[in-house]
Symmetry: C2
């Protein structure tokens, strides 16, 4: 029996995997999320997801499949990670305000017994409505922006900010569920549905 391990501390990713009834363990990677600005956003999310998965796979035993993931926001070729403080969150949200940006999530699957590695990414377009300055500040005060790429979370109070998306919604939350499920099924014979 293969054990599934999620190498992420993100409660949102854990929630997504729980909702589909997947049996898994959480072992957050402690690898530093350092973004190499010389690489393309696509490369960055794949590389970071790999580093997280590898970190945990190296310490895991046989018969494990480790899932690593990384999500970034890209606006006009600028990569936005998590905000460092409220001012940083304010700058990010003011920049994204009323505009469309890209959300990229990369994921890596590593099977420990044969070290088979699958790296993928998915992109979703997200459009913010026009927010007033007071709304941006009120949103920051809720605390929601602080641990999230681009300084927003789409699934809670962020639902009042995101006007429309194009692509996989769950990719914005933190895992591209369809692509992940298809990769697990085709590459590792893990049947989810």
């Amino acid at each position: 029996m293969t054990k599934m391990i999620l190498a992420s501390a993100s409660p949102r990713r854990q929630e997504l995997l729980k909702r589909i009834g997947l049996d898994f363990e959480v072992r957050p990677s402690t690898v530093e999320e350092k973004i190499d600005v010389n690489h393309s956003p696509e490369q960055v999310v794949k590389d970071l997801s790999f580093l997280k998965a590898k970190d945990i796979a190296d310490k895991a035993g046989q018969n494990c499949i480790v899932i690593g993931a990384d999500t970034i926001v890209v606006y006009q070729d600028k990569i936005l990670g998590k905000p460092e403080n409220k001012e940083h969150a304010y700058r990010m949200l003011s920049m994204l305000n009323g505009c469309a940006h890209r959300v990229l999530t990369g994921f890596t699957l590593i099977r420990t017994q044969d070290e088979k590695v699958i790296k993928r990414y998915e992109e979703t377009l997200v459009k913010f409505r026009e927010l007033s300055d007071a709304e941006i500040k009120a949103y920051i005060e809720t605390g929601e922006p602080m641990d999230k790429a681009g300084a927003y979370g789409i699934q809670e109070i962020g639902s009042l900010i995101v006007e429309r998306i194009e692509g996989d919604y769950f990719n914005v939350v933190g895992l591209p569920m369809v692509q992940l499920a298809l990769a697990l099924k085709k590459e590792f014979e893990v049947k989810i549905l």
Copy 2:
């Protein structure tokens, strides 16, 4: 102080309103969800949402704002409501399989003290991935399709079925959050963010 009342038994709509921190009461309307096939889908969701809101508003006291909502799936001009049984769910899912369809949610807001009524709707495009017959049957066995328009729920196991969307994700879950919040703010001075 105005009391907000949700005239819907849908646990998904309740969850959406809870997540944004709205203080509200749930009083499900018992109006029959009868679809008039001579009306456009846009008209149908607005009319049904109005009937639900009106049903509860008539029994509510002063100083209430009642929210009624109705969600349908439209595929090639055919309106799909909730499936009647497993066979019906199977027919619906087989029809939607691999294709794009429209999801329409209508909502009505009624303020009881002056009977001010606002009716709106929002449309989102949803694309299913190509499912095998076994996957459709396995999905029906989870029980998830039974109480949902179009025989699927996007937010749980349905996340493995929906490949992409265009528009407001929360509209597919059951309430167009951005449009609802803007209507509450502009028409009734209810500030949410």
